[in-house]
Amino acid sequence: MSDQSPQDTTAADFNPRTAGFAAPTTSVGDYVAQRWQAIRSGELGSLPIIVGLILIAIVFGSLEEQFLTARNFTNLLLQMAPVATLAIGIVFVLLIADGEIITIDLSVAYVAAVGGVTMVLLQRPGDPGWPWWAAILGAVVVTTAIGFLHSMIITKAGVPSFITTLGGFLIWSGVVLILTTQYSTAGTIRIQDKTLVGISNNFLNDAIGWILGIVIVVGYAASQLLDARNRRSRGLESKPPLVIAGQIIGLGVVTLVAVAVANSDRGVPQVTLTLGAFLLFWTFIASRTRFGRHIYAVGGNPEAARRAGINVDGIRVKVLMINGFMAGVGGIVLASRLRSVATNTGGGNLLLNIIAAAVIGGTSLFGGEGRIVSALYGALVIQSIQNGMDLLGIASGTKFVVTGIVLLLAVLLDSLSKRRRAASGLA
């Protein structure tokens, strides 16, 4: 490897230090240099989010003393849950963008509302009085079916997702309006079932909160260490131990401080656990399974995916069904949080917030780029800005303007980093 003839490479391509794919363990210096190189060439990772959250904490924390309190922190966890849940589905949808054509679901907020309404109607005592779990199941079956319906129109008939779901936006908002007015006089149907109300209103007791926090940290540490050990034993380069230790300690501190703060108020919300479980599950699907790999391939280069024998339309159908499923889950979380559904459920700026969350969290509009956890990051940013502005008593109009600007900044960052990556690829 090291004594190759000079004509094999060019000065621009050849880096003697890393020729032959480097030594089994990278040094900390090399690792930092590699990361810095990646950032400079446009692979920003979660850096903008971390910077953004710190800025938000400083700005609102200094303007309003209520912002950085335990009470407001648990409120924030409750507020962000519906948007974060729904944004998971949208991350999947954005991932399969077809070249220049963005895939999007403009109907997601109203599909979620249809799910919420379905659940509420099914649990109504005596009419038909389904148990809580059956009502939940009914709701997600309905919304997954809606996702399937959309996917058929998009893949079989070739109607762009933008148009299909614009139609869906109107249709499903109409369905919500029809159902809520038909089954109520005031336009609001309340949830009677205690378990269903508890989904977004219960808190875990302190001990369970601590146990969960510790399980997360230990689980993360174990998977990181195991991975590093396996890689070393197979002679593959692994992250330097110091970096692994740093990441484990970083996650540990953030998680345990979050649990401690939540416990000093009402505890960790139950819905945070639900959200975390979905994030973990879908992250596993997206990053560790063949199906997940194929989703990214379809978003990266549909023609390459097709030639590799991947059923591209099949992947698209499944992704839109996942989105439908998560819309149902999000609708249930939303309905539970409000303890009811009403004629305006799914309206307002919910749709904007969901899509903004996915994009702000780092999912590219151009397909193939983005992690599932960006749903959480983006929802955290969006909701903390809105929460801060609410505490400051800022008017709705200003709130829309600020949220819109943050969204545009995120999209701008995406476009610029994409251009940067393309430029560095020409080397």
Binding site: R234, T289, N301, G309
Partner: protein, 260 residues
């Protein structure tokens, strides 16, 4: 390079023809590649190079004629059949997903699994072995995304992908068309290494300089017919240009329809 006269052809096409409607795209073409040989396929636009390749890999199967692989007659009905035999094509657009890393691209559609989980370690190790066997050493890491690679590196990844699956014959469609001087150099070295390792290589190119650099023999197509199979060492670029533009046609176009 190898003891050519004695080796049986890896791939042998005898009198293959293909018609698209009234257009005779190729007519009674003979074409062969021996193991460890680089066979260049040259010809002007519309000479039938692409049709011949698409026939070999079964995208548009030949209407008539005989194809043998390893001395045995075969019927190739699609890219799957070709891949099963060990024939891989690296198309000009390379078909790489920019957002995926080198390993993911090389194994796309044929991922190694451990239960339901991707077996990343096995794939990464195997990818490195193949790249190293081809002396592709310019990659910073096999875990970097393809978006950050140079044109020559991308070509190298696409070629490595094609030899990952016990393939025997690699067909390269204009591998140097979009590359600069240094990148072209890398790809031509790669082609030589493939043949040294015993792969049969077909290289389609318009660039006769590149062809003379790597090819052992040159098959010239003109107006859908094979007009010459030349030994690179016995001819000059002028001879090849002459064959491409004015090679003697065994069958006069327009006469075949009268026969049929």
């Amino acid at each position: 390079m190898t003891d050519r006269p004695n080796s049986t052809p890896l791939l042998e096409c005898r009198a293959v023809s293909k018609k698209f409607g009234a257009v005779q795209a190729i007519y009674k073409v003979d074409f062969e590649v021996r193991p460890g040989e680089v066979m260049a396929l040259v010809g002007d636009n519309g000479a039938g190079k692409s049709t011949l390749i698409k026939g070999i890999v079964g995208i548009y199967p030949f209407d008539e004629g005989q194809v043998s692989f390893d001395g045995k007659p075969v019927k190739i009905h699609g890219p799957r059949d070709a891949a099963d035999l060990g024939i891989e094509v690296v198309y000009q657009d390379l078909a790489l997903a920019d957002n995926l890393d080198v390993v993911a691209n090389m194994f796309l559609g044929r991922e190694e699994m451990r239960g339901v989980v991707l077996n990343e370690l096995t794939m990464e190790k195997r990818a490195k072995e193949v790249l190293e066997s081809l002396s592709v050493t310019t990659l910073r890491s096999v875990r970097q995304t393809v978006a950050g690679l140079s044109g020559g590196q991308r070509q190298a990844v696409a070629v490595a992908k094609s030899v990952l699956w016990d393939s025997r014959l690699v067909i390269l469609d204009e591998p140097t068309a979009a590359l600069g001087v240094a990148q072209t150099r890398q790809v031509l070295d790669l082609v030589k290494r493939l043949s040294e390792q015993g792969y049969g290589v077909v290289i389609i190119s318009h660039n006769l300089h590149d062809v003379f650099e790597v090819a052992d023999r040159i098959t010239v197509l003109r107006l859908g017919q094979q007009v010459a199979v030349l030994d690179r060492h016995a001819v000059t670029q002028q001879d090849v240009v002459h064959a491409i533009t004015a090679g003697t046609l065994a069958h006069v176009p327009g006469m075949q329809e009268a026969d049929a």
